[in-house]
Amino acid sequence: MKFRTIAASLALVVAAGCAPAQSGSTGEGGDERTGTLRVWLFDEANRDPKEKVVDQAIAEFEAAHEGVTVDVQWIAVESRADKFAGAFNDPANAPDVAEFGNTDLAGYVEAGAFADLTGDVESWEHGADLLPDVLDTATVDGKVYGIPWFTGIRALYYRTDVFAELGLEPPATLAELAETARAVRQAKPDMYGISVGGKYVYAMLPFLWASGGELARPENGQWTSALTSPEAIRGVTAFADLISPGICPPEQCADFTGTQSVQAFAGGKAAMTIGGDFNRKAVEEGGLKGKYAVVPLPGTERGSIAPAFAGGNLLGVFGASERRGLGVEFAQLLASPKYQSEMYSAMGNLPTLASVQRELARNDPFLQPFVESMAAGTRFVPATPAWSQIDAQGVLPTAIQRIATGEARAREALADAERQMNEAFGG
């Protein structure tokens, strides 16, 4: 009897349920060598090229491992939080391998879901070739929880044809950037001077850092938000001011995400944007091939480069995976020199292996500004589990949007954001 069993099990649960449910500690996992390997990868603005490379890797992997099928599920970046939460709360039904952003690392490690890959990276033939800075973004308390797949560095894309026509030079400071953007829109009213958006936090961060501000400071092992420092206010305001009728009207831009900002540029609607190495394909397929160039995003002073955000995605293996060995091998295959180069040609992703990066930078001037930005020093979001929460709650986008729409003054909006950040840090 179906119902009797259910009723019995329910009675069991009710009897046990005076406190909220908790998962047991993460399962031990296993090392089966056959079956379905379930993989989560991020969906992209233009997924086809990524999918092709991944399919190629899958074919190679399946040919080398008899009785193994690889099942890829494409996860939307925006809704990743609930997806991963589900996997953490029910390890038995989690996938085996997942791609995730390095900003989420601390939170995911706290949830205890990902396997410690330190040994696997050390014994991997390309392990020593991984860029140390990049490997750092995959490390928590000395343990590596993911194989760095690619690095995301953002720089300033601009339209060479538009700049030539209007006799403009690429800006040398952030203040010049705003002036140049304003000049473009004045001359071409149906074009955004620069397409940036209220939800494009990674474009705002260089402004914050270049002005000498910081997101948060660690004090005695506890993070404290620093958003209301005069430097931070100046930096965020400089960015929010770009979302104004004279540059990028709030009616359109206030809600833009990074993808949308780049899309607007790729669609020919903007003279500049802040884009990553990984956006190259999207821009060129929009028909701008030969009409754009990239320079490092300038700092506040002439000749300086604004600190870039060291983004990047990792490939992790779930601790509860029944196919740990296969999972690690598949992650290593995707991160191997061959597929890193393939991903570079497909998407423009900046490789994480020193040898591959050197090789590519030599042959492809496109990479130059990104490598330069990286060399000038990169920064990172607070490495704490709370960051995932601050990110998911949209604390910074809300602040930027409130300033840009004039709903609140910068000090007020940032004070609210600071309070929310501290709440998250506090526990």
């Binding site: 179906k2 069993t5 259910i6 019995a8 099990s9 329910l10 069991l12 649960v13 909220p20 449910a21 998962s23 379930r38 989560w40 969906d43 603005a45 099942d71 599920q73 494409w74 939307a76 809704s79 609930d82 997806k83 589900g86 996997a87 709360n89 029910d90 038995a92 039904n93 989690a94 996938p95 995400t257 993808t259 949308q260 899309q263």
Partner: protein, 281 residues
């Protein structure tokens, strides 16, 4: 103004309103059929001379589309069938039997509908995980978990609605049947059940919509087994407004809407007569 004149005026208004109400649906289907260039045109026209199935093709060629469609049908059908059975029995008990605590039960049914479903995903998630330990087919990652949850959410409203239908059947009929020697069980199934069938149909519509449209639970419960995804969840891949692929979005919307619409049109007559019957009683 004569009566006939005013009726004609009312009819014209009715047709105009009907057109306005149907317009978004027309626009949805039309946009799904427009070629790419026309959808992204800044000069949209309410017709097209070059209908194309391109947008549908993009959506329908999702790997495993047939599978997802089937999954959705299985879940929705199971929910409709089970909820009809359960809510019918409960409605009979709540209207025909006198017992203590009945009023309390009724109030509870109303209150149950007030809890925001979204807030319940977390407790339900853990519940389904425990259920899965006992009966794997109803655990997470399985369609059974979706059936259970949708059943639970459709039942309170279904019972609440059905009470009216059951109450509308005259008590004298039951007395007569009893005098003829029919048992209560026989009366319930052979006489009462056919009589409230229109009501059952009306109720089933809502259970069907509920189960068919869901993507919140499908997204939360079907964690990693792609083969158990349902249609809305699979189709939502195309809802990426930042890419402005309105053609694919409209085609997906059309595909999601059509089965419900067909179901509605099929039961349309009974829906109205069912509700009317409940009121007349």
């Amino acid at each position: 103004m004569t009566r006939r004149r005013s009726r004609l005026l009312a009819e014209i208004v009715t047709v105009l309103v009907a057109a306005a109400v149907a317009f978004p649906l027309y626009w949805m289907v039309l946009s799904a059929l427009k070629p790419a260039g026309e959808i992204q045109s800044t000069d949209p026209r309410p017709w097209t001379w070059a209908p194309t199935l391109d947008s549908f093709e993009r959506v329908l060629t999702v790997d495993g589309f047939a599978r997802y469609f089937l999954n959705s049908v299985v879940v929705a059908t199971a929910v409709v069938a089970l909820s009809l059975l359960m809510s019918f029995l409960s409605a009979v008990a709540l209207t025909r039997f006198r017992f203590r605590g009945r009023t309390v039960l009724l109030v509870m049914l109303l209150v149950a509908q007030m809890v925001p479903i979204e807030a319940l995903t977390i407790p339900l998630f853990f519940l389904m995980r425990s259920v899965g330990d006992v009966v794997p087919a109803f655990g997470l990652n399985e369609l059974g978990s979706l059936v259970l949850v949708h059943l639970a959410f459709s039942l309170p409203f279904a019972i609440w609605m059905l009470r009216g239908f059951v109450a509308a059947v005259p008590v004298e009929l039951e007395e007569a049947a009893r005098i003829d020697g029919a048992s209560r069980l026989r009366f319930t199934w052979q006489i009462l059940f056919p009589l409230v069938l229109p009501g059952l149909v009306a109720t089933s519509v809502l259970a069907f919509i509920h189960a068919w449209n869901d993507f919140l639970f499908a997204k939360t419960f079907i964690i990693s087994k792609t083969e158990n995804q349902t249609l809305p969840q699979a189709i939502l891949v195309f809802f990426k407004p930042e890419e402005n692929d309105w053609g694919a979005i409209m085609a997906s919307s059309t595909l999601m809407t059509v089965p419900v619409l067909v179901f509605f049109v099929l039961v349309q007559r009974r829906l109205v007569s069912g509700l009317a019957g409940a009121v007349k009683g």
